[in-house]
Structures are given as structure tokens and as C-alpha cells.
């Protein structure tokens, strides 16, 4: 893409749920370390990744947000002992649901990021933005079809 129309280019929008104790702190660590990453993500802080109800992920994707990333503590490290295990199980089922409908499979991801893993946070964001750039706009979003002539 040339630089003139770069500003008009499709910019994916990614919703990130980050748990207060590990992943949000990991995101803070990325900031403190000045790790540069694409500006496509918006973080919503929750106390635990287990707070994210599946409807939130569905709602975001059905309303046209290009991808949803749920970040929690590493298995075994949950501040609330077992919250991220619920997140993990819920994620598996939700992915199966998406598979059954043949949609959105890749647009929802779960990752574990600790408070020290600023680098992992920035890499996760970068990977997710690249993934969505490859998939193109969410078919349920207003940007859908902007690439087709």
C-alpha cells in the first residue's frame, strides 16, 4: 500500500480483555519498556479473565469488532486460584461453537501473559493484528468489503 492512502487504509480494531493481576500489568510493563506495537488494540480491564462472559466475545464479534483477545494469568498463577481454568475451558467450547458455524474461528484467541511479560504482550498484540490483517475485516462489520473493487 502506498503512503498517500495509508491513512484511509482499513485499520482492524481488536478488543482485548486483560486481567488486572497479570496481563494488565504485563501490558503496563510493555509500556514502561517502551515496546512499540500497532495501535489497533483497546484494552478493557477486568479483575480476572473468568469475568469475561462468552456473550461479551460474541457481542463484540457480532457488532463488527474484528477480533477479541482474552488475556489471563498463566495456568497455575491465577490471582483467584482457578479463574483462568474457567477461561480456558470456556474458550475451548466457544471455539468449538465457532467451528460448528464455520465462522470467526481465528478472530477469538486466549493467551496467558504474566506481569513480567511485557515482551510477550507486545508480541501477542502484533501477532493478533497480523492475523486479522490476513483475515481481512470482520464480515459483520461496516468495513467489510472495503477491499473489493
Amino acid at each position: 500500500m502506498s503512503s498517500e492512502n495509508k491513512s484511509k487504509a482499513y485499520q482492524p480494531k481488536i478488543l482485548v480483555f486483560a486481567c488486572n493481576w497479570c496481563s494488565y500489568a504485563g501490558a503496563d510493563m510493555a509500556g514502561v519498556s517502551r515496546l512499540q506495537m500497532p495501535p489497533n488494540c483497546r484494552v478493557i480491564r477486568v479483575m480476572c479473565s473468568a469475568r469475561v462472559r462468552p456473550e461479551m466475545i460474541l457481542s463484540a464479534l457480532f457488532k463488527g469488532i474484528d477480533a477479541v483477545l482474552v488475556l489471563g494469568c498463566h495456568p497455575g498463577d491465577c490471582h483467584y486460584s482457578e479463574g483462568n481454568y474457567y477461561t480456558r475451558r470456556r474458550g475451548i467450547i466457544l471455539k468449538k461453537l465457532f467451528d460448528a458455524f464455520g465462522m470467526m474461528q481465528e478472530r477469538f484467541q486466549i493467551r496467558w501473559i504474566s506481569a513480567a511479560e511485557g515482551v510477550r504482550f507486545s508480541e501477542t498484540i502484533r501477532e493478533m493484528v497480523e492475523r486479522v490483517a490476513r483475515l481481512g475485516p470482520n464480515p459483520l462489520g461496516k468495513d467489510h468489503g472495503r477491499f473489493t473493487p
Binding site: 509500556g31 514502561v32 495501535p39 479483575m47 480476572c48 462472559r53 479463574g83 474457567y86 513480567a116
Partner: protein, 567 residues
């Protein structure tokens, strides 16, 4: 409460935010958002000026929601909430928007995109603020007792300080004696005093105190509970011991890296570490011949990138002592850079040079080579300044290795739910603002468990951690988090999902005479994770401060950019 009136305060954070984000445009944009009745920017919103401005504007504009767009709630939320409370606004009507760590600092080369993102983050914040409701927090008692894990200089200093204030202290030490690493040193620098002259009085004070209980050869097996009442299980040689405390101080310290295989340590006779040398000096050895120190052994390498911090000072100290004890000896320090920080160490560096210690710089990609058969005989090194290889005769080679965290840090990190870094050093809540506290309430950190510290720093941090731990214990109670779960009985069908997922057994579906099949939350047990809220089919149980309504409205405003669908 009447109509929602939101005030938005946007912080420049000096140039940390203002240098990358166009604050003027963000202000213009924010002014146009619904329900926003006041906007302003501050050079530092967290300064006295910024805080008084928040307070003034709440009164002046009759604001009933406050948003600060600045750094991270993990460090500054409490400060701003307090400011709101001081002028009578419920602290939970405050919302934080992170436009520094999550925006300006990570998009430094894209000012336009960063500005747009900041606008959107503030819009999400406004949306959440509009749905905030005042909350009341309960409180809990704090037991006047502390568990100190580690009986080294910092742990003992903390113990004496707390005992003097009348608190009960439990020290759990994994070795058979108190004093930690300091008790194994010969002399301390600056001051040239023998280490035991410092350690012994401290240990004796601790032993004599009627408030301090010592568990030697013991380790902490299990920690549960939270600030106010941590339940501790300690494994001692006499068996299992259980007790409970109000606060916990982690002072597990560090140990010298054993440089296995490095520079033939353990293979050639006469290759020692600094600690091994100090013990030799402690035993009273007086005659030395040709001594070569190699600094940065095992530090500042790709595997262990950090600087050991005290290693240079240690080598400067011991090099001079060797010259003084044995004036006929030759002492050479091979170094990568001499880090003689602070007011004293630089002077000590010069003192060592004046005493005849030679300092030679080596390149990390051409490290010194220790030569010998069975016993060390010489060291070959590329002399950076003269540009040629030189051969130093050596009767003894001393490796200056960094401190590494003591074993068990990872296990402790898991039990206390506090973070560690890739080397297993603990991470404090904030490296400048909360240096001796963890993000978990009631748990504090002191000494070399955080990073290599000298004894002065270990003592200072021990006392600082003690002061921090004393605050909630003196008050006798702490205010609990108000963002806990609550059930709306009208909506509850008694399905029991919430009870099933709660990690703390804080929710139960009650079936007694008065309450028929309704879920009930125990406010003291609830930690506010929100797991129950996520599984309620009716939205009957809600995590206050993170309700479905609040989060869904943020998602919606993110999806529909103008936000018109939701207001």
C-alpha cells in the same frame, strides 16, 4: 443522584503523554462527548495542583463522575479516588483511562494513531463512567502479627523494627542460623568494620525479643487468606506449625552464583569466588602472592543480562584488603566496566588504586583465559588499551560473580500470588512509587530478593517494609474491596452456577425459611473476581464496578464509533 455529570481530566505526564499525543485535539473531542460537563488538561494530574483542581471542579461544576486519562490504575487509582472522596464524591464514581502505558508509550512513532486511540479509550471510559454507581466498602480486622520469610539483614531489621512497635513477629529461616549472607562476609565497606560486629548485635536483639518467634531450618509450606488474616503453615524440624498473621514480608535474599565450569572454577585449584576468598580472610590467612580478580563472571551475559551491582564494590574492597594484609602481593582486577556508584564507592575505587591494585579492562568477546595444570598458574588477557595480549602470573584467581535469588522464590511467588521476573527476583508493585510493597495487599518485599543490595540498602528496605506493614496493623482494620459480587434476588433462579464456580466458597444458594433458593454473597469472603457474574444466566449476580451493563456498554461504544446507539 440526579443526572450524570462527567468531568474528564487529561494528564500530559510532563511530555510522557503530551509529547506523543495531541492533547488539544483529545480535549476538543472529549468536550463533544455526551454527559461530559467539564474537561481540562494538567501537566501532572497527580500533582498537588492537579488533585486540588479535581476537587475544585467537582464542587464548581457539580460533577458526579470523574475520569482521569493518564497512567495506570494499578499505581494511581487509589490517589485519585481519595481526592474524589475528600470532596464528598463516592470513590467508586471515579474511572481511570490509561493513555500512557497503553497508548503514548507504545505508539511513540505514530502520534496521529495514538491520538485517535486516546480519544477512543476516553470514550470507552466515559461510557463506563456513565454507568458507575456509588459503592460502600466493608472493613476487616488486621491481626497485629507479621510473618517474615528470611532471616538475613533485611528480614532481621524489619523484625526488630516491628517488635519495637509491639507487633508479634514470626521469622522463618531456611538455614540453621540467622544473619543471612552478611554473616558470611569478612569486612564491610564502606567503614572497614568486621561484618560480625554488625550482624551479631542484630541477631542478639532478635533472639532476646519477646515478640519475635524464630523458626530455623524451616520453610513456609502454605499461605492462604488475605491482608488481615493470612493462615501460614510452616514445616519445621519439629513438625508442622500453623499460625496466622496480618501481614507478610518477603526477605528471602540472594546467594552468590557458583560459577560451575566458568574460568575452570571447580576444576583448577586456586580458582575461587569472592565469598570463598572472604572466608579465607576470615580464617586469618595473611600471605598472598599473585592474585587476579575476574569481574562480571557470569553477569551481563546473554543468559544473565543484569549487572550484579555490588560485584565491583566487592572486588574493590577485597583487592585493597589483600594489598594491605600482604604488601608484597600483586593484585590485578580484570574488569569490563567499573561501576563504583554512590558517594563512597568511587572514593574506595581510588583508594584501591592508591593501594597499588591494578585495574585492567577486558572485552566481553575476548574474555580472560585462566591457565594451569591442576593448579592455576597464569591468566592471559587481551589488554584493551595497549591492544595486545598480556600474561599475568597468578597463584590465585578470584571470580566476582553476581548474586542470584535464593531457591524457593518461584514456589513462594505462587503461594503469595506475587510476580517474579525471569531470573526469579521478585517484582514490587511499582518501582518508584511502591518500592517495598507488592500489588497484593498486606505483602511486602525487602532486600536482595528484589535485586542485589548492599547491607545499608537491605537494612533500609527492611525498615521501610516494616513501616509499610505496620500501617494497617496499627490502624487495626483495612477497608475491603467494594467491587465484589452482589445478587439481585428478584432475578435469581437459584440454579447454583455461581456457587459452583466461586473459588472462595463466598457464594451459596440459600434454602432456609426466609430465603427460598436464592444465591447469597458473603462480602468478607468475596474477592471480586467476577467468575460468578460470567456464569449467571439471568444477570442476577453482578460484580460491582464491573457489571455486565458497564462492560457491554464499553463493547458497544467501541463497535459503533459515534456511540450514538448506546447513549
Amino acid at each position: 443522584m440526579g443526572k450524570v455529570r462527567i468531568g474528564v481530566f487529561i494528564c500530559h505526564c510532563g511530555s510522557n503523554i503530551g509529547g506523543f499525543i495531541n492533547i488539544h485535539n483529545v480535549l476538543e473531542y472529549t468536550r463533544g462527548l455526551p454527559l461530559v460537563k467539564h474537561t481540562e488538561d494538567n501537566l501532572y494530574t497527580c500533582s498537588d495542583g492537579g488533585l486540588s483542581s479535581i476537587k475544585e471542579k467537582i464542587t464548581e461544576h457539580n460533577l458526579n463522575r470523574v475520569i482521569v486519562a493518564a497512567c495506570t490504575p494499578r499505581t494511581h487509582e487509589a490517589l485519585f479516588r481519595r481526592a474524589c472522596e475528600e470532596v464528598g464524591l463516592n470513590r467508586y464514581l471515579f474511572e481511570f483511562v490509561n493513555i500512557r502505558e497503553h497508548c503514548s508509550w507504545i505508539h511513540m512513532n505514530e502520534p496521529e494513531a495514538a491520538t485517535e486511540k486516546a480519544m477512543e479509550l476516553i470514550r470507552l471510559g466515559v461510557m463506563k463512567a456513565a454507568h458507575l454507581v456509588p459503592l460502600e466498602a466493608a472493613s476487616t480486622q488486621v491481626k497485629p502479627a507479621t510473618l517474615i520469610i528470611g532471616g538475613g539483614a533485611s528480614g532481621l531489621s524489619a523484625a526488630v523494627n516491628l517488635a519495637n512497635q509491639g507487633f508479634d513477629v514470626h521469622i522463618v529461616e531456611q538455614t540453621g542460623k540467622l544473619g543471612g549472607l552478611a554473616s558470611r562476609l569478612w569486612k564491610l565497606m564502606p567503614g572497614d568494620r568486621l561484618a560480625h560486629e554488625f550482624v551479631e548485635p542484630l541477631v542478639n536483639t532478635v533472639k532476646k525479643s519477646k515478640h519475635i518467634k524464630i523458626y530455623l531450618n524451616s520453610i513456609v509450606k502454605e499461605i492462604s487468606g488475605f491482608i488481615g488474616e493470612f493462615n501460614i503453615e510452616v514445616k519445621t524440624p519439629q513438625g508442622k506449625k500453623d499460625f496466622s498473621v496480618g501481614t507478610v514480608i518477603v526477605a528471602t535474599g540472594a546467594r552468590e552464583l557458583t560459577p560451575i565450569g566458568l574460568y575452570h572454577h571447580g576444576e583448577l585449584q586456586g580458582v575461587l569466588t569472592q565469598l570463598e576468598l572472604e572466608q579465607m580472610l576470615k580464617r586469618g590467612r595473611k600471605r598472598f602472592r599473585n592474585i587476579v580478580f575476574i569481574n562480571c563472571a557470569g553477569a551481563r551475559t546473554p543468559d544473565r543480562e543484569y549487572c550484579g551491582r555490588l560485584c565491583c564494590a566487592t572486588s574493590i574492597k577485597n583487592a585493597r584488603y589483600l594489598r594491605e594484609i600482604s604488601p608484597s602481593s600483586s593484585v590485578t582486577v580484570l574488569q569490563r566496566d567499573v561501576m563504583a556508584f554512590g558517594t563512597e564507592f568511587e572514593l574506595e575505587y581510588r583508594r584501591a588504586q592508591d593501594a597499588g591494585v591494578r585495574f585492567i579492562r577486558y572485552e566481553p568477546d575476548r574474555p580472560p583465559e585462566v591457565i594451569g595444570e591442576k593448579k592455576v598458574s597464569s591468566v592471559r588477557v587481551y589488554h584493551t588499551l595497549s591492544g595486545e595480549e598480556i600474561m599475568l602470573p597468578a597463584s590465585m584467581v578470584v571470580l566476582t560473580t553476581p548474586l542470584i535469588p535464593n531457591e524457593g522464590a518461584a514456589e513462594l511467588s505462587r503461594m503469595l500470588k506475587v510476580p517474579i521476573d525471569r531470573y526469579n527476583f521478585f517484582l514490587e508493585a511499582h518501582l518508584k512509587l511502591r518500592p517495598v510493597e507488592f500489588a497484593t495487599d498486606g505483602v511486602y518485599i525487602a532486600g536482595a530478593a528484589r535485586f542485589p543490595v548492599d547491607i545499608r540498602e537491605a537494612v533500609a528496605q527492611g525498615i521501610a517494609a516494616a513501616a509499610k506493614a505496620a500501617a494497617p496493623m496499627t490502624a487495626g482494620e483495612v477497608i475491603l474491596e467494594a467491587t465484589i459480587a452482589r445478587t439481585e434476588p428478584l432475578l435469581c433462579s437459584g440454579c447454583g452456577n455461581c456457587e459452583m464456580v466461586c473459588p472462595f466458597a463466598a457464594v451459596e444458594v440459600r434454602k432456609d425459611d426466609k430465603i427460598q433458593n436464592k444465591s447469597f454473597v458473603n462480602a468478607v469472603l468475596c474477592k471480586g473476581c467476577g467468575a460468578c457474574t460470567a456464569v449467571c444466566p439471568n444477570g442476577a449476580i453482578q460484580q460491582l464496578g464491573f457489571t455486565d451493563h458497564q462492560i457491554f456498554s464499553m463493547i458497544e461504544t467501541m463497535a459503533f464509533e459515534d456511540g450514538s446507539d448506546v447513549f
